[in-house]
């Protein structure tokens, strides 16, 4: 399974590219450096797409909320930090009009879009996972449940298949 965070090496390389753009205008970079930067951004984007697909697959299957929070909450600060770094890089290049800056900027915007989708989905589901349980009147639930039991208003299933059909077969 794809790890759901950007590896440290890629993060450091991205940071180095951003710092280089801060130190020296991209228009002055050697052509090879521009290409290396583009390859890096595209590779990070491809990885982020895989991270998003993995997260979506996990959520399509479904997961218990506390398990999700335990396993995924530590990933949000990294996603926030990656988003900030991408936006800083975009900001740095947004006033440049040379061709090299334009190409890198386009790649960064494409990365930003995917990273934002990933970060937003992670944050949204974590917020849901952190919501407290609904407040219930437990005594009332107990008495209503007992009344249903006495009245035979419970159903039981013998096999998993029967249960699945009984719960699912609405159409």
């Amino acid at each position: 399974m794809t790890a759901l965070t950007m590896p440290t090496l890629e993060r450091r390389l991205f940071q180095a590219a951003k710092e280089e753009a801060e130190a020296k205008s991209v228009s002055e970079w050697p052509k090879e450096s521009v290409e290396t930067c583009l390859v890096l951004i595209r590779e990070i984007r491809a990885r982020t797409v895989r991270m998003l697909e993995t997260l979506e697959a996990i959520l399509a299957e479904g997961i218990e909320a506390r398990a999700f929070k335990r396993d995924f909450a530590p990933l949000l600060p990294a996603a926030e930090s990656d988003m900030t770094a991408i936006r800083e890089f975009v900001e740095k290049l947004s006033s440049s009009e040379d061709d090299a800056s334009g190409r890198i900027l386009a790649a960064l915007h494409s990365l930003e879009e995917v990273e934002e989708t990933y970060r937003d989905l992670l944050a949204e589901v974590l917020a849901r996972a952190s919501n407290p349980h609904p407040s219930l009147d437990w005594e009332r639930l107990k008495s209503e449940s007992d009344a249903d039991f006495k009245a035979g208003r419970f159903v039981s299933f013998t096999t998993n298949e029967e249960m699945l059909e009984g719960l699912t077969d609405k159409e």
């Binding site: 399509a60 299957e61 218990e64 449940s145 419970f154 039981s156």
Partner: protein
Amino acid sequence: MRYSLEFRESVRDYLRQLPLSRTARVKLNTRLIALTAEVPDSFRSDPENRPEPTSRFYHFTYLFRDANRSCTLYVVVDDSSAAYGVMSIVYVDCQIG
């Protein structure tokens, strides 16, 4: 241990009427069965999963996505007959989108 499951009819009807895709409903019910029929004792006995330590109920929240909508299913299970191998699902509430 694997438990037999029973549902209040109102819970069964509610689950059958959820406005979900059939695929999502099958997955949801499969996981619901797993989280109750095959629930580990450690999960049930965790105080975080019970309204009160002596309550006959344990509860949990299940998160899933269907058609780009995030959904939250809250489930309450009466495990007072666990010693007899039975779990009763007595309350569910699903928030969609």
